[in-house]
Structures are given as C-alpha cells and as structure tokens.
C-alpha cells in the first residue's frame, strides 16, 4: 500500500517550555501543564503513518491534543518539534521544512480541511459558490464558466441544492453549511482530507447523511482522511485504524475494532465503557 503521510514525534508546546516539560506531564501525572514552567503540552511525540484511501481516527476527550495535531499538519499552527513527510504523485514533501508560500500552496492544492465550526472553513460574506470558487481561483483556474460548472458539480456531489449556490452560507442550515464546507475542501481533488469534529452539533439524521457522504468520497476517490472526533460512533463507522490521545500523548493505537472491543489502557476502557 502507498504511504501518504508519515508523522514522527510531533510535539506542540504553548508557552516557553523547559527541559522537564515532557517528563512531568502525561497520563502518569494526570496533567498536560508542566509544573516547572507552566507551559501547556498540547501534543507530544505523536507518530503515525497514513496510507492511501485509509481513514485514520484520532479520538480523545476535549483538550487531549487531537485537533492540535491536525492543525499542525494543515499548517494552521507551527509545531514545536517533530517532522511529517507527505508523499504525493511520486514526490516527497517534508511538511515543516517548507516555506510559508509552499505550505499554503500544498494546503490549498493537495489538502482539504473541514472544521467543526463552518465559520472557520467558510467565508460567510460570500456565496456558497464563491467559497468554492476561492479555492479554485487559488489554484490558477481562471475561467468563469469552468468555475461555475465545477462548483455546481461539487455542490451536487455533496447534496446541496444547486439552485442555492449563489446564496450566502448564513442562510443555510448547519448540516448544509457542513456540506458546503466539504464541497469546498474537495474542490481541488485533494489527496488528504482532515475532518475535525465534522458531525458534532448536528442532529442524528444529518450526521448519518454526512458520514455516508464521507465514506462515499473515500471509496470513490480513494482520498486518505484523518478524522478527529470524540464520538465513538463516528470512529466505529469511519476509521479503519484509531489513535487514542490523552494529555497530548497517544496512549493507544491500532485497528478500530480491536480498540473498541478490547481496549488495553484503563482510560480507553473507561471511554469505551461509558459510550457503548
């Protein structure tokens, strides 16, 4: 299988940081705040591989560092240390060695991001179609009718009524906003999609429809995805492999079924027991 992403020892510290930050935090100490210098260890030593067409789940409670890890990979934040290699069309990109322009180019052309809050992923001052156009225009598509037809196709694909493509996203329901966000993320046919709590806050039937859409995209386009969620149902449905995070550390990883049926760590056991 082709490897798409290789992440090694990714760490993110908020604050000055000191030499004992990593030694004095983590699940043994029940904290992610360094008692010496007060820095927050949002993520430490996160390593994983992602293969083509695979969905990797990252689960954990809020504040466990799952979103931080993804935001570092999407260049929303700079990591404190670690490296990540992205494999794309025979080329290798050392993500954190690229300059800002290269990072922006890669994030726009080859990655897609869907946030929990549509306000982060969409520009609410421009129409749904305009939001998709923005991503296409960034990648040098300069033909108006091409942009229109591509945006229409994407919205059809994500089951947004195309008659409403020229409306502002604020007129849409939460589920539709999320669909527009997914359409925008898919605009450039990305090979890697980050989904950060995409179904949180939506009602159950809409959640189910969005999850179906995500699975469909994965199966049809062989897009690799990283799904961040605290919802075990989402993990069970989508992810083939799963990382469990707590206090910025990966405390358990493996096949999703294995983790949900036979959790090894006390925390994971509690998590699974409480949810199922």
């Amino acid at each position: 299988m082709d490897k798409v992403l290789e992440v090694r020892n990714l760490s993110k510290i908020y604050g000055k940081g000191c030499s004992s930050c990593f030694e004095l935090t983590g699940s043994e100490f029940n904290t992610n705040i360094c008692p010496q210098c007060g820095s927050i260890i949002a993520a430490h030593d996160v390593s994983f591989d992602l293969y083509k067409g695979e969905i990797l789940g990252i689960m954990g409670e809020s504040g466990s560092g799952k979103s931080t890890a993804v935001k570092c990979l999407y260049f929303d934040q700079a990591p404190s240390s670690g490296n990540a290699i992205f494999f794309d069309e025979g080329k290798k990109y050392d993500l954190f060695e690229l300059n800002a322009a290269q990072q922006r180019g890669l994030a726009n052309q080859r990655f897609g991001m869907v946030y929990q809050n549509p306000h982060l992923g969409l520009n609410f001052d421009i129409s749904a179609g305009g939001n998709i156009a923005e991503r296409l225009l960034m990648s040098e598509v300069k033909n108006y009718s091409d942009i229109r037809s591509r945006a229409r196709k994407l919205l059809m694909r994500t089951e947004v009524q195309t008659e409403r493509m020229d409306e502002l996203p604020k007129n849409f329901s939460g589920g539709m906003q999320q669909r527009v966000q997914i359409a925008k993320a898919l605009a450039t046919n990305p090979s890697l999609l980050f989904l950060d709590e995409v179904t949180t806050g939506l009602d159950l039937s809409v959640q189910a429809a969005i999850l179906d859409l995500i699975l469909e995209i994965q199966q049809q386009q062989k897009t690799s995805m990283i799904v961040v969620t605290h919802d075990l149902g989402v993990i069970r449905l989508l992810a083939g492999r799963t990382l469990v995070m707590k206090y910025g550390r990966v405390i358990e990883s493996g096949l999703t079924d294995q983790i949900l049926e036979d959790p090894q760590q006390a925390y994971t056991q509690r998590l699974v027991a409480s949810a199922l």
């Binding site: 322009a101 129409s127 305009g130 156009a133 923005e134 300069k142 108006y144 009718s145 091409d146 942009i147």
Partner: protein, 305 residues
Amino acid sequence: MSVSTHFGFLDEYAKKEIRRTALKAVAIPGYQVPYSSREMPMGRGFGTGGLQLTLSLLGKGETLKVIDQGSDDSVNAVNLRSFIEMTCPGVDTTTRTDEADVIQSRHRIPEKDLREDQLLVLQVPYPDPLIIVEASENKRKVLHGEADYSRLLVKLYEDIVKFDEITISHRYPTRINDHYVIDPSPIPRWDVPKLHQSPALVLLGAGREKKIYAVPPYTKAEPLAFEDVPFRVEDFTGKNGKRRSCQRCGCTTSFLDEFSESKYGKKIYQCSDTDWCNEQMTKVSVLSDMENISGNIEAVEVISG
C-alpha cells in the same frame, strides 16, 4: 504673498527620500513602497501624495500640467497649480498635455498618448486593492508577496453572479508585470488600458496612506478578469445604437462626462479631458477654415476656368 523661499516647499532631505522611494517603486513595478509622507499645507486626502512626488521631481525650466478629473480648472487642480507656482519659481505651468514634462492628475489619465519624456503623477486615496478583502496590513503584505489575489477574483466572481458583469467602475485592480496587483487610483476603466506598455512613467502617490508605487514605462499592466469574461471599458453607445459624441467638439473617441442640461434636464455628453476637447475644437475649426478656403479656391478656379 511671500511664502517659504525653499524651492519646492519640501526640504532637500524630504525630496531625496521621496526620489529614492520612487526609484525603488520603479525597480519593483507595482509594489507599494512606504515612505514618510510629510505634512503639507493642505488636508491629507486632497492629493498630498501626488503633490509631494511632483514637488520632489520638478526642476527649474520644466513645465507642469495639473488636472482634476480631466479638467485644468477644477478646484483641486487650480489650488495645487497655484501652490506649485508659488513654491517652485522657474517652473512653467500649462494646460496643454503635449507641452507638459510632468502631469499631476486626479482620477484621469489624459486622452492624448503620453510620450517617453513625460511623467504622469497620479493622486491615490487608497493604495491597496486588497483592503476590501483583508483588513490586516500584515496579512495583505503576505498576500501581495505570494501574489495571492484569489480573494479579489472571488469579488469579481460574485459580481458576475449577481449582475452578469464586473461592476467596478473605477479603481480597477490591475496586475503589473505579472506580479503585484495595484489600485490604479480612481481612474475610470477607460484609462486602465493606457497603463499597459505606457511610454511614460506613471508614479502613484498616496499621502495619507504613505505609499508610493509605479508603473514603469513599457510594463505589462493587466486588469484582473476571467478568461471568458474579459475586462471591458465604458460603453458610450447611445439609444440609437451610435456612439455618443461630445456635444462641444463632436469627438467620438474620448471618455465622456454626462451632464443634465439646465433648461430641460436633457442628458448631454462632453469630453472629460478639457484640453483634448479644446484641441479637437481647434482642429475642427482649422479644418472647416481649410474647407472654406479650398472651397473658395475651387470657386475661383471654376470662375477663372
């Protein structure tokens, strides 16, 4: 009235700084070079940026033309001209485009093609075209640096969606030398193509925003547009399908202003560039004189023949 005896009002250090800024602006076409815009004896936003450029660049024996929306006699033009006349002894002023070495202008580029030895200074209220899509100057600088103008293009896209065409009437975002997009000052769309490969150097000065930028001679200047929705200039076709003409000189190739006739409120059109209009008038009268003369000669010949 006695004023500062210093030539060009500004002190030599200020003029030197502005010249160096202008040189940098020419070296990086379209890039907004910051400078320490000086206090002028007029409100910021009244053309202080253009005025400072003009004062720094004018020398004794040179000729200046100042226009405001195409007219030499508008308030802004008259005041700037008399200020420069007061502070720059030895500088001639003119209203004729082809006699001027330096032309300072607000909101228009002269109809007459400029020459290599001429210099156009435009007064700029808002130098950054990205301000409508990004409020933070730091972020705008990054966008300019990476030549990322997708958000401006999205504005154009939204315009076409809503109105079937791009509705920007003035300050049309224009890409210089394939990189920086500039706000070409509030010139109408009509004037934007004149920036492309212009033989004359075009300097743009924003006094309040403290920026100078340039379109150097013979440089590419492309208005932003889509491949299938090209940029177009104002259309002066009348209801009868014919191109409207200036009611004064009859010119059908110039940018026209629309007026309401005072008596019946009828719409009338007139050249926005007054010097151009006057020149067309003299041409017309010379021509009709010639016609009269040649007509007479023919008549004489007929008689004598």
